[in-house]
Amino acid sequence: MTSFPVLTSLLLLPLAGTGLCLLFRRKPDLCRALTLATTLVMLALCAWVFCQQPDAAGWYLREDYPWIERLGARFTLAMDGLSLLMVVLTAFLQVIAVLISWHQKKHPAFFYALLLLMEAGILGVFLASDLLLFYLFWEVMLIPMFFLIGIWGHGRRVYAAVKFFLFTLAGSLLMLLAIIGLYLLHGKQTGDYSFALEALKHTDCGAWEPWLYAGFMLGFLVKVPVVPLHTWLPDAHTVAPAAGSLDLAGLLLKTGVFGILRFAFPLFPQSAAASLPLLAFLALVGLFYAAWCAYIQGDVKRLIAYSSVSHLGVIMLGLAAANVLALEGAILLMLCHGLTTGALFALVSMLRRRTGTRELAKLGGMWQEAPIFSCFFLFFALASLGLPGLANFSGEILVFAGTFQVRPLWGALAVVGVVFAAAYILRMVQELLWGERPAGRPWPDLTTLEVVALAPLVFFTLWLGLYPETFLAHLHLPVKILLEQAAPLVAAHGGLP
């Protein structure tokens, strides 16, 4: 441990970058360089933490400052293995996001400022260990995304942006009520009014527990999103700019799952245990329904958006299985999904920039036209499908193994769902890369910059697929602690480990 406030600087750096970008808004090149520099420094900081060892309680870093003492809210940031991986993913994807929006023409300074502001918000969500602080960041990260979709989106951007904002905010307002309720209950019981997560875990919620749990879960499930709360996602993805889609799929969706693991499960273990079958049901419905929707989409981006919902079904199933294997698998799958789906969204944006369309019917024959693009596309599509040796496979296999341990039927159903994934992915690949090339002007292949942006994603997709232990090693302790704290979760499946 060092005395240097690493976590606070992880939040302040992007905020400073935002301020600078707004200040130098007439110099787009400077803003771009500043943004890239900021994200690289953040990544370096994260990489440094990644090489550290946690203390016995699983914390890598903890920082605690007084904030609103009158309410008992503190500025508490904490990083355990789970948040570490999420933070690393955020810092990594944000570098890629800057690279793929290098040639941003429309209001570039404002664009980069929002990217950095969003990074601050998302990191805050992953690091906050005080419920009020968490809620603050939870809302803060919405606003930049709202602007990214609304200003730089295509097509029905206003509709999609407003829908995104209203859906997610309506969900989180109920979470706010639940937070206040929990805070008051805890205060009444102990006389200590506090928003500290660790303190609130010991609250005896009594009859209120299901309601509070429902409030939290509504906020999180909208964000995941779980069918039937998912309808904002395809719209948002379809219109969002490249970096927006990357962040949306790679990071924003993860905050929902993260919230469940960090807050909803440990705070309300009894209700959580009771809700596991329902969660599993929703997860399976989402898995199949979204896969089916993906299969019939004509728009490549919309197809990938639905595939995203489907993958999150697998992740939610991992949460519902609630044992060591499944949880570690689910968290690993979050990383993998962030990389592969993020990469696919980036590729689709590159495709659209060249062809002016994303309609499968108007596309085809990319393999001959743009071989480098096609290689990348095929690689990430196969990873998304769950090809062994690539990222998603390692996560999915762990989730399935874990699920089979406790509920073989759920596992069997989910494996069938993966066959569906193969169907829509292969259809997309087949129609896009092969098929008939429509007449028209030539489609240039990827530029060096685009290759540079995609190469790190390939590297980590392979790493996650071939040797996930590097990342899993950080997860063993937090998952163990989570299952200890939320003992009823384990008991729900007959006390299996």
Partner: protein, 486 residues
């Protein structure tokens, strides 16, 4: 006779009325100065007004933790009054800052404008520090009469005339109700002193259920709820807000509302504590009605001044939730909320003042298409104010709503809190629409006619700092709000 004079002199304590005294003296001085100034030169009047407000703020702060009573229990300069005084002074200050260039642009550089604002601020102060129903009534009248004039000040504009007349007629009518209520309560308790009424009612519990007491309470509430713009006494708000000069509207939305809340809180919590179950159930229903009417109607507005008028109705509803909760959290929440609302709403109005164009032609949603990119500072400022009005962290609006809803939940009004939160969700829609127009629509024009007047820009900067300060580190002000309640 000698005895009477002596008695009166004993009770004289100028320290208790010093803030409003200073303000009135300055106001009258400015009236005199105006006589000797050439027509149309109002800048010096506005500068003197700002100085007046600063001096008054310093004087008023002497009362913090140093309560002053005087005039036979008619006036108290306690923490409660001081907190509200600061809110009024802030509202008046921001209003005056944004006014000077606006008045010149609209062709009404009238020197009397500033004294009227100062007088109405003084009236608001009497309402907050009055501990006798008559003092409170006096304050209300001083406040209102100045505002009637201000609302109708653009005398060649029909809308402004309409606003002034409407406000005057309905205001006078509601004052009648208030007086009737005071008379009935005097009939019951034999006194108009708020604390004595409370003592009388607790000594004679049988009188609590007496129809005369209840009727007095109801009639008096009408008078104050009218000023707060709570439904169903809100009908005047949209027309008056839209017709009145924009800075006046800004002042009306914050100052009188806070003043009426101050009076209502003092009377209900100190004087009518015995009737708490009655007024709680009354306000419970009115809070819900006010929130719903304000928010739902605001959705249909295309004129921003009118939209903010309905939004101010909705915010009155949120604040009423704190009064229903009637615990320390909720009541100090109202104090906090009024201050937060002053910052965010006056900030939003200051942007409207600049963006309004001569003759207030540019106040529709379409008029703001692409405004955010053409005028980046004003766009970002407006966005911050709107986010605060929505109640998104980290802004003052969030902290205020959090405080008030926490108070409601603490007192067991879970449903009220849920309805309040759902109303906030509805309000997202119309606030968001302004942002949508500002940033997501292509600009129709280049907004080159927006000139950044120093005064208005200063008030916007103050408002931004206030909104963010109250939103990010609200602890200190929350502590003060807690110390300020009874």
């Amino acid at each position: 006779m000698e005895n009477l004079v002596q008695l009166a002199m004993q009770n004289v304590n100028f320290a208790a009325i010093m803030p409003s005294l200073v303000l009135c003296c300055f106001g009258m001085a400015i009236l005199l100065i105006n006589v000797f100034m050439p027509r149309g030169k109002t800048t010096s009047a506005s500068l003197i007004s700002i100085i007046a407000l600063l001096v008054t703020a310093v004087v008023s702060l002497q009362g913090w933790n140093n309560p002053q009573f005087g005039f036979a229990g008619h006036v108290a300069l306690d923490n409660f009054a001081t907190f509200f005084n600061m809110t009024f002074l802030l509202a008046a200050g921001l209003t005056i800052l944004m006014s000077d260039d606006y008045l010149r642009r609209e062709g009404y550089p009238i020197g009397e404008y500033y004294p009227l604002i100062l007088f109405s601020t003084a009236g608001a102060m009497w309402m907050a520090s009055g501990t006798d129903l008559m003092t409170i009534f006096l304050g209300l009248e001083v406040l209102s009469i100045s505002l009637y004039i201000l609302a109708g000040m653009f005398r060649h504009q029909l809308q402004s005339n309409e606003a002034g007349l409407k406000y005057f007629l309905l205001g006078a009518f509601s004052t009648g109700f208030l007086l009737y209520g005071i008379a009935l309560l005097y009939g019951v308790a034999g006194t108009t002193n708020v604390a004595d009424i409370g003592l009388y009612l607790s000594a004679h519990p049988a009188m609590i259920g007496n129809p005369m007491t209840v009727a007095g309470m109801l009639l008096m509430s009408i008078g104050f709820l009218f000023k707060i713009a709570a439904a169903p006494f809100h009908m005047w708000t949209p027309d008056v807000y839209q017709g009145a000069p924009t800075p006046v509207t800004a002042f009306m939305s914050a100052g009188p509302k806070a003043a009426a809340f101050a009076a209502l809180m003092r009377i209900f919590i100190l004087g009518l504590a015995g009737l708490q179950s009655e007024w709680t159930s009354l306000l419970w229903g009115l809070a819900i009605l006010t929130m719903i009417i304000g928010n739902v109607t605001a959705i249909y507005q295309t004129n921003l001044k009118r939209m903010l008028a309905y939004s101010s109705i909705a915010h009155a509803g949120y604040a009423l939730v704190g009064l229903v909760a009637a615990n320390a959290v909720g009541v100090s929440g109202i104090l906090f909320y009024m201050l937060a609302y002053t910052f965010m709403n006056l900030g939003a109005f200051a942007v409207l003042v600049l963006a309004g164009k001569k003759g207030e032609e540019n106040l529709t949603l379409e008029g703001f298409s692409g405004f955010g990119f053409k005028r980046p500072f004003l766009g970002v400022a407006m966005t911050i104010f709107l986010l605060s009005l929505m109640g998104i962290p980290p802004t003052a609006g969030f902290a205020g709503k959090f405080y008030i809803f926490a108070g409601a939940i603490k007192s067991g009004y879970i449903w009220l809190a849920i309805i309040g939160v759902l109303n906030s969700a509805v309000s997202l829609y119309y606030y968001l629409r302004v942002i949508v127009y500002m940033y997501f629509k292509d600009p129709q024009e280049d907004y080159s006619w927006v000139s950044m007047h120093t005064g208005a820009v200063v008030s916007i900067v103050i408002a931004i700092v206030g909104v963010l300060y109250l939103g990010i580190i609200p602890g200190k002000i929350m502590e003060m709000a807690k110390l300020a309640i009874f």
